[in-house]
């Protein structure tokens, strides 16, 4: 039960705080994965963003209304935190140059780091909304409706961004797309 966070003395915990504590336990890993994908594959930054989002959500519990689910509300905060992180990283890079928040260079046993970097770079080319829409729907498995709620945009807008994101990624990562890869295989050497 390492994921359980003691928030307050038991007697003082309201129903909403109970739900929040459960949310931390059940959504922490998904939240970290989503943050990781949104900030460009940086472990430390993903952890910071996730923690910031949980803290902000906890501090803002009083403002939560049941118009959306607690999960949707929390993920909205998380996506904003990730966007803020990207924005500040951009500012820092402009001021100090270099890649100040470069993903950790430590070797990672499974997977292909080079491929990860390529995918991160391709996602980086997308606009913020395209990237967020694509990651939420196609990588994290949120529905278009849930993603629209998280992003605070109409469903049509999210669909449009998804379409553009997919087109751009297909172009950038053509060798990973089955149809393009098949074509590449058919080509004579």
């Amino acid at each position: 039960m390492d994921g359980v966070v003691a928030l307050e003395p038991v007697a003082a915990i309201s129903e909403l705080e109970r739900r929040f504590a459960a949310l931390v336990g059940t959504h922490r890993e998904r939240a970290r994965r989503l943050a990781w994908r949104l900030v460009g594959g940086d472990d430390a930054a993903a952890e910071d963003v996730t923690q910031d989002a949980f803290v902000k959500a906890y501090q803002g519990l009083g403002r939560f209304r049941d118009e959306s689910s607690l999960e949707t509300w929390f993920y909205r905060i998380l996506v904003r935190q990730a966007a803020n992180h990207r924005r500040w990283r951009g500012v820092r890079e402009r001021w100090w140059g270099g890649d100040v928040d470069a993903p950790d260079p430590q070797p990672r046993p499974p997977g292909d780091p080079g491929l990860r970097r390529r995918i991160a770079a391709a996602l980086d080319q997308l606009s913020g909304l395209q990237r967020e829409s694509f990651v939420l729907v196609h990588m994290e498995g949120f529905t278009v409706r849930e993603s629209a709620e998280i992003l605070g945009r109409p469903m049509g807008t999210v669909k449009s961004h998804l379409h553009r994101a997919l087109r751009s990624l297909r172009s950038e990562l053509a060798d990973l797309h089955p149809s393009e890869a098949g074509t590449a295989e058919e080509k004579p050497e």
């Binding site: 994921g3 994908r37 694509f134 990588m139 529905t143 278009v144």
Partner: protein, 139 residues
């Protein structure tokens, strides 16, 4: 829970492509130690310990900025009145103390040149203010 019509229809190759990206572009699962460290860090921040540390550098930066701005205002040639003979003449031969008082406490702030059109020229407060004041004073 999730309705089919909320899903974006993708053809099989695009669906396969998206699934492949999701599989390739994912963080490593955290170890038990990392999960525990995360939970400890989060707990510390939720109980406020993490924020107090962050206040000191922020306050120090704000104080330094304010000091720098004040220094710049006082030292910059455009904003600092350099005392010259002309200035003295304009000031009507004001003493150093008067000049400094004027610099830091302009007459407008001291109320010397302020004229409230609602105040009767005969002096004192407007009638309605006097009525309120007298009500309290009577008690």
């Amino acid at each position: 829970m999730k309705r089919e019509d909320e899903r974006l229809p993708l053809d099989s190759t695009d669906a396969h492509f998206a699934a492949k990206l999701a599989e390739l572009y994912a963080p490593e699962p955290q170890t038990l130690e990392q999960r525990q460290a995360f939970a400890r860090g989060l707990e510390a921040r939720l109980s406020g310990r993490g924020y107090r540390r962050a206040w000191f550098p922020a306050l120090a930066s704000a104080a330094a900025c304010a000091a720098a701005a004040l220094t710049w205002l006082l030292v910059s040639p455009g904003s600092t009145p350099t005392r010259t003979a002309t200035d003295s003449a304009v000031a009507g031969g004001a003493s150093q103390k008067e000049w400094e008082a004027q610099l830091f406490y302009p007459d407008q702030l001291m109320g010397r040149y302020m004229e409230d059109v609602t105040t009767p020229r005969t002096g004192g407060l407007p009638d309605e203010y006097m009525a309120i004041a007298s009500a309290f004073l009577d008690e």
